[in-house]
């Protein structure tokens, strides 16, 4: 119970920064301390959006987990393929968009599904459709951002990718490594151990250590939680540290509600016991949910915008300018060119101004000279 209370506190703290304004009452009150409130109000009015991608082999429990996370049923009519149909299956990208609301805060949630990943017999480059999709979203945003009318830009960039690692093996498999390496510089990857109810606590620990080791070994850059500020108090830091040591999260999902310990909870019913999804000693589902939704959702968006998108943009521009240098022609569809090659009018103006400046400089020099002479 202690851990839960602490976590609640953590969540509160992140959501309500206004508590600090009380300290300012002694000094003369200017009033900009209400900025956070204003931001809060505006953002509630505007609404939020979030794009989450789930990737992993068929049958890892991705849909179940998404349903458990957002407490809805996103996958009503789903057609599952037979084994013989999957022998040569290619990866598809399917988007589900839902609008959900909680306490007046609206969230436009987009889940990007990748059915067919890792299911065929030959999985060479099965991650290509996924990387292409992510690049496409970046490109579209890039064009919109450089356009003339920027009022209603739709942000379809993928903010986070949950990658489901099967718990049946001894660690990461080659296809896992290749997928994460292809994507780690384009999107925030959060690896998860799926179907964790087939592992005893010891086995979970061993597998987590193994996976962390292999992630380091192969140089995969998964999403890192931001360091907490040094002026936070100990329990916050402790929680943060625990969270970091728990990765990758071992999760269980469930679509069904069962009766356990007198309450109705989401869980899985076995002859030997009941696994509760929200029980911290059973799995890390609660940690994942808190991290993903309650504390770090915005940070994920920020990292996507500030790091991944900027990398993409810089790369894109570099390619274009190097191509231009080769071609030596002013042929490019992106209208950011006005900055590097200004049009004729502004050029003229600039030239005029330059000349004026030069003239003035000369006059100044002359005057100085005259003064100098007079002195002498």
């Amino acid at each position: 119970m202690d851990a839960i209370m602490l976590q609640e506190k953590l969540v509160e703290r992140l959501l309500c920064p206004r508590v600090r304004t009380a300290r300012q009452k002694e000094k003369q009150y200017v009033g900009f301390a209400t900025l956070p409130n204003q931001v809060h109000r505006k953002s509630v009015k505007k609404g939020f959006d979030f794009t989450l991608m789930v990737a992993g082999e068929s049958g890892m429990g991705k849909s179940t987990l998404v349903n458990s996370l957002f407490l809805t049923d996103l996958y009503k009519e789903r057609k599952l393929l037979n084994a013989e149909e999957r022998i040569n299956q290619t990866v598809e990208i399917i988007k589900h968009t839902v609008d959900i609301e909680e306490k007046g805060v609206k969230l436009k949630l987009t889940i990007v599904d990748t059915p067919g990943f890792g299911d065929a017999v030959n999985n060479n480059e099965c991650w290509k459709p996924i990387t292409d999709y992510i690049d496409q979203q970046f490109e579209q945003y890039f064009r919109d951002e450089s356009g003339l009318n920027r009022k209603n830009i739709q942000d379809n960039r993928v903010h986070c990718c949950l990658y489901f690692i099967p718990p049946f093996g001894h660690g990461l498999r080659p296809v896992d490594v290749e997928f994460m390496k292809a994507l780690h510089e384009k999107v925030n990857i959060i690896p998860l151990i799926a179907k964790a109810d087939c592992l005893t606590p010891n086995e979970i620990k061993k597998l987590k250590d193994r996976i962390r080791e292999e992630i380091d070994k192969f140089g995969i850059k998964v999403y890192q939680f931001p360091e907490c500020d040094s002026d936070e108090d100990e329990e916050f830091k402790q929680l943060d540290k625990e969270l970091k040591e728990c990765t990758p999260f071992a999760v269980i999902g469930s679509n069904t509600v069962v009766e356990a310990r007198g309450q109705r909870v989401r869980g899985r019913l076995y002859p030997w016991g009941i696994v509760e999804v929200e029980n911290q000693s059973h799995c890390d589902f609660v940690k994942l949910r808190n991290m993903l939704i309650r504390s770090h959702m915005h940070d994920l968006k920020d990292v996507t915008c500030d790091v991944h998108y900027e990398n993409y943009r810089a790369q894109c521009i570099q390619e274009m300018t190097s191509k231009l240098a080769q071609d030596n022609r002013m042929e490019s569809p992106i209208p950011i060119l006005p900055l590097s090659t200004p049009d004729v009018e502004t050029e003229k103006l600039i030239k005029l101004k330059d000349e004026e400046l030069k003239r003035m400089q000369e006059m100044l020099n002359k005057m100085q000279q005259q003064m100098h002479d007079k002195e002498q």
């Binding site: 022998i87 299911d119 017999v121 080659p174 109810d197 030997w272 509760e276």
Partner: protein
């Protein structure tokens, strides 16, 4: 029913033959007057087999980490040494290990073959090949032993795979595409029993759905898994009921956990413990019954009678042996063998001839080449010689010219000296001097002219 009809047909043909052979003898059923004692024949057979020892070979096919080794340990209640496999094998390998086990007074030579690296590669199209090759290799080994002239079949260690346990990952939906492809390739070579591994991740309702889905997929794709035999009345009932429980959902564990007041094999979770030998929890007990306690001998028989015979037939047909010739008269193996041998020898001779001819022609070729080269060399030698001679001639001529010039020069010198002497003597004769001078100057030119002419 079909099998019964076949048996009847066989019987009929048998009796027809015997009737054809001895038309006057009839098979009669006789009543025995007392206890003879041949009812101990099965016991004799049993004691002989026990003395010989039994042989059993299991092949475990499944992804890395799916629990093959743990299940083997649990089945045989012992710890087979097995190192953990890595996920990064570039291709599937098979690791056979043989153990000698003993229970009561029965010796069992158990060989367990694990697939290492199965399902780990990104391109799994060739995953089934090493497995098929291994199974064929064991059949081949037995076939060789059978075809030997001096053979010791009873002594030889039978390494043919009697049973293949295929471990299906419990993803909850259905078979994986790799599973389907592999099982399809293996079903005509070995007895397959599919098992759902790590079944403690599938809840009861999901399990029923999964089993139905898997069996329907296998049936619709024509995969023939091993069916427990239902002809023998002693085991018919249990076998038929077990056939409906396929594929078995198993959980393996070698750790003992205290449940109630007993120590049982189980897996301990925060929410409960999965007992391996509890029939409500998983089908491990069923698998053990079927595999070891009831049908082991039948598995061996099926391997020998069905899979091995099929392999043998295909192999011999490949080699060209036939049971019936073009005019549908039966050949004996010997005749076919003789024919084959003759063919082979003729072939061999032909090849020898070919090789010899090739050798001869090659030799001729090289000879011709060498001759040509020799000619060439000669030519060059001649050429050089000629050049050398020309040069020599040139030099000689030049030398002669030089000598002539020297002689001319010497003469001029002598003439000049004499003239000088004359001039000294007759100083008062200037005209003569001029004349002489003239003569003196014209002389060398005349000399040079003559010497020039001499050259030509």
């Amino acid at each position: 029913m079909c099998r019964g009809a076949v048996l009847m047909k066989a019987d009929l043909s048998c009796t027809l033959l015997t009737m054809a052979a001895n038309e006057h003898e009839e098979k009669r059923n006789l009543e025995l007057g007392g206890h003879v004692g041949f009812d101990s024949l099965p016991d004799q057979l049993v004691s002989k087999s026990v003395a010989q020892g039994f042989c059993f070979n299991i092949l475990c096919v499944g992804e890395t980490g799916i629990g093959k080794s743990t299940l083997m340990n649990t089945l045989f209640n012992t710890t087979f040494e097995n190192e953990e496999a890595s996920h990064y094998q570039s291709e599937v390998q098979l690791r056979p290990q043989t153990y000698d086990l003993q229970e009561s007074n029965v010796n069992l030579k158990l060989t367990v073959v694990h697939t290492v690296g199965f399902g780990d590669q990104i391109n799994k199209g060739q995953s089934h090949k090493p497995i098929l090759d291994y199974i064929d290799a064991q059949f081949e080994r037995y076939l060789e032993e059978e075809l030997k002239i001096r053979r010791s079949l009873f002594n030889c260690h039978d390494t043919r795979i009697h049973i293949c346990l295929y471990f299906i990952a419990p993803t909850g939906h259905s078979l994986k595409s790799l599973d389907l492809v592999t099982m399809k390739k293996l079903d005509s070579k070995v007895n397959i029993i599919p098992v759902i591994a790590k079944a403690d991740t599938v809840s009861k309702s999901e399990l029923d759905k999964l089993k139905i889905k898997i069996m329907s997929e296998l049936v619709s794709n024509g995969v023939q898994i091993y069916q427990f035999p239902t002809e023998d009345e002693a085991v018919a009932e249990i076998n038929t009921s077990m056939n409906t429980h396929l594929p078995f959902a198993v959980v393996g564990s070698v750790e003992d956990v205290k449940v109630g007041n007993k120590m049982v094999k189980a897996r301990l979770y925060p929410w409960g413990s999965v007992q391996v030998e509890n029939e409500n929890h998983c089908d491990f007990v069923k698998l053990r019954e079927m595999l070891l306690r009831v049908n082991m001998e039948d598995l061996r028989e099926q391997t020998h009678a069905r899979h091995y015979e099929l392999y043998r037939r295909c192999k011999l047909e490949e080699m060209g042996f036939k049971d019936t010739g073009p005019d549908s008269q039966s050949f004996s193996l010997q005749e076919t063998y003789e024919a084959k041998r003759k063919e082979f020898l003729v072939d061999l001779q032909r090849k020898e001839e070919e090789m010899r001819q090739m050798f001869v022609s090659k030799v001729k070729e090289t000879e011709a080449e060498l001759k040509e080269k020799e000619k060439e060399l000669h030519e060059r030698f001649e050429q050089l010689k000629r050049m050398h001679q020309d040069e020599k001639k040139n030099l000689e001529e030049k030398r002669r010219d030089l000598e002539e010039e020297m002689n001319a020069f010497n003469r001029r010198k002598v003439a000049a000296e004499t003239l000088m002497g004359q001039a000294l003597q007759g100083c008062s004769q200037p005209f003569k001097k001029d004349k002489d001078k003239k003569n003196f100057f014209s002389l060398p030119s005349a000399c040079s002219l003559t010497s020039g002419r001499n050259l030509n």
